[in-house]
């Protein structure tokens, strides 16, 4: 399968100046600036095939947004190769720009003082979308995102959720083949998040679009992505199937118990690691292989009303991954540059 996105040894560095605190520090920094180089992305390589949805996870400052921006052509890489649909993103060819879209939570394309539909009209002309196609797409997008009431209202009068949906629709009006979504559900309520997730899945399904998506919400990733890349300290710490990640990194499962009679913590701990005990509810962490055995023992030996077997929450899994990875935090290479 040919890769639509191919990245090799991608790097991005930038200079930040250091300052001491206090008044004296400010004066010193006025005269003598000390810079250090921060490596935001440190040799990242991967390939993505057409139609894949890839979740891109990592803590804040790990390099997710920087990588996406380099793929979209907004930032020039400091090193390495990147090719998207055969184009070099930083050249910003018209055909490249027409095939991609980047949605960033806080940045908006909609004109603030006009109705949303006016911004749609502008994009229609810019991307040279024929009129009938344009009306059809607006219809589809409206339907998929329930925008009918909203399109004609001034953007500044819309709620955050309505605005984000309009931004999303606007970003997809020209039917890009590649979607870069940076925190697309941030700030939205639960219903809206679900609506956006469903929409993205439907879009991928209908148009075989390739999607790279970053998110803090594991629900986004779980619902949409089969493949995840975990980036930390500018490097890829994991690239593969989500469930394999969970299985590899989370060799344990969670047993959730509802007790008829309260039990002392010491007693429960004899069976497995006790994670939580509150009145009649307990959570135990058990090795995968021993789940069945432990569960039957618990049912036989303790007054258990109900038992459930669950995966460890993904947050824990990912969090643990960052802790166990060999120290890859960004180490600023101190090259004091004075100007």
């Amino acid at each position: 399968m040919s890769a639509v996105i191919a990245v090799r040894g991608l790097r991005k560095e930038y200079k930040v100046h250091h300052k001491e605190g206090g008044f004296l520090g400010s004066v010193k920094s006025l005269v003598n600036r000390r810079y250090s180089t921060v490596t935001a992305v440190d040799g990242v390589s991967f390939e993505i095939a057409e139609g894949e949805i890839v979740g891109f996870l990592g803590p804040n400052g790990a390099g997710k947004t920087t990588t996406l921006k380099m793929l979209a052509g907004l930032l020039h890489p400091s090193g390495g190769d990147v090719s998207v649909l055969g184009f070099e993103p930083k050249q910003r060819h018209t055909d490249f720009l027409r095939a991609i879209t980047l949605v960033m939570g806080q940045k908006q394309q909609l004109a603030w003082d006009l109705a949303a539909i006016d911004s749609f009209l502008l994009n229609r002309v810019i991307y040279d979308i024929p009129e009938d196609v344009y009306h059809r797409r607006i219809g589809e997008l409206s339907e998929m995102l329930s925008l009918q009431q909203v399109l004609n209202k001034p953007v500044r009068k819309l709620s955050l959720g309505e605005r984000m949906k309009c931004e999303l629709a606007l970003a997809l009006l020209h039917q890009p083949k590649i979607l870069f979504l940076d925190e697309p559900t941030i700030g939205l309520d639960v219903n809206m998040q679900r609506a956006v997730r469903d929409f993205i899945a439907a879009y991928n399904d209908r148009y075989r679009a390739t999607i790279m998506l970053t998110s803090h919400y594991m629900d986004d990733v779980e619902a949409l992505a089969r493949r995840v890349m975990v980036i930390d300290g500018g490097r890829i710490a994991f690239d593969g199937d989500l469930h394999r990640l969970i299985a590899e990194q989370a060799p344990k499962k969670v047993l959730r118990l509802k007790l008829i009679e309260a039990q002392p913590a010491a007693r429960l701990s004899q069976y497995a690691e006790l994670r939580r005990l509150e009145d009649l509810e307990a959570e135990l962490l058990v090795d995968r292989q021993r789940v069945a055995e432990t569960a039957s023992r618990l049912l036989a030996e303790l007054p258990v009303a109900d038992i459930a077997i669950e995966e460890q929450p993904i947050e824990d899994v990912i969090g643990a991954l960052f802790k166990t990875a060999p120290d890859r935090k960004t180490v600023p290479s101190h090259q004091p540059v004075t100007t």
Partner: protein, 273 residues
């Protein structure tokens, strides 16, 4: 196909202008307040008219009487209002706060949108600008001194002025790729333009040595030159020379703008985006 491409560009421009006229209309109250600042040339006019009294003030081979000052400074009013610029603000915010990013993703040069934004504002302000202009000329009894050919040539020179101004401000704004303080530079462009362009003193009335230098700067090409056309103090040779200078500055500044944009984009640090 060349024609298809040209048509596409024309359609984009038309839609951009429609969009930004609408945006400017939404801000019309603020625009009105901003236009109060444009009244300064009228105050300057009053000073010079009083100075001239019933005589005239001469220099460098010409002289200005009350009527001349009236026309000159009303022209200054019109020129300054019609060339109102805020690209330094747009670029500073766009580059430093990353608001430029969405525009970089569209297959249209961001500068087109910035131009359209300014033109939209001018279209909305134009009725008031023209009304004040005509009223000023009428009240000073100079309305009759305008001739049709002069007004036409003035309009043409105005287009040239706008282009020069736009690129001048844009180039300074593009410095935001390299430095923090571009907004602090904006008043400087303003002062240079007004003083060295003839907005406080007609260029002809400067001491000769200074005047000779000023006529070669872009500022005089944008303010003094069109005003001279309206005054009718300009012969065919000077007219041609003036337009040639305007074209020269437009070309030079456009090239500078493109060079700054290209090198600036490369430097676009992760902080700003």
């Amino acid at each position: 196909m060349r024609t298809a491409r040209i048509l596409h560009v024309a359609r984009i421009w038309r839609q951009l202008l429609v969009q930004y006229c609408a945006v400017a209309m939404a801000y019309r109250v603020q625009s009105l307040i901003w236009m109060i600042g444009g009244l300064m040339p009228i105050a300057t006019m009053l000073i010079w008219v009083e100075l001239a009294g019933n005589g005239s003030i001469g220099g460098n081979g010409t002289s200005y009487g009350r009527q001349d000052f009236a026309v000159y400074f009303m022209a200054m009013y019109l020129l300054r209002q019609a060339t109102v610029m805020w690209s330094v603000l747009i670029l500073d915010r766009g580059i430093r706060r990353g608001e430029l990013a969405p525009q970089l993703l569209r297959p249209v040069p961001p500068v087109w949108a910035h131009m359209a934004e300014h033109l939209g504002e001018i279209v909305v302000r134009l009725p008031i600008i023209l009304a004040v202009f005509v009223l000023g000329l009428y009240l000073t009894g100079t309305l009759g001194s305008l001739t049709f050919p002069n007004v036409l040539l003035f309009a043409l020179a105005l287009v040239g002025s706008w282009l020069i101004f736009f690129h001048l401000h844009y180039c300074v704004g593009l410095l935001a790729f390299w430095m923090d303080g571009v907004l602090s530079l904006e008043p400087l462009i303003w002062y240079f333009t007004v003083i060295l362009g003839g907005g406080a003193i007609p260029i002809d009335l400067f001491p000769t040595a200074i005047r000779d230098v000023l006529t070669w700067l872009p500022f005089a090409a944008t303010l003094d030159f069109p005003a001279q056309i309206l005054l009718g103090k300009i012969d065919a040779a000077l007219l041609a020379l003036g337009f040639a200078k305007q074209i020269g500055w437009i070309v030079a500044l456009t090239l500078l703008r493109q060079a700054l944009w290209r090198t600036g984009l490369r430097r676009y640090s992760a902080m700003g985006a």
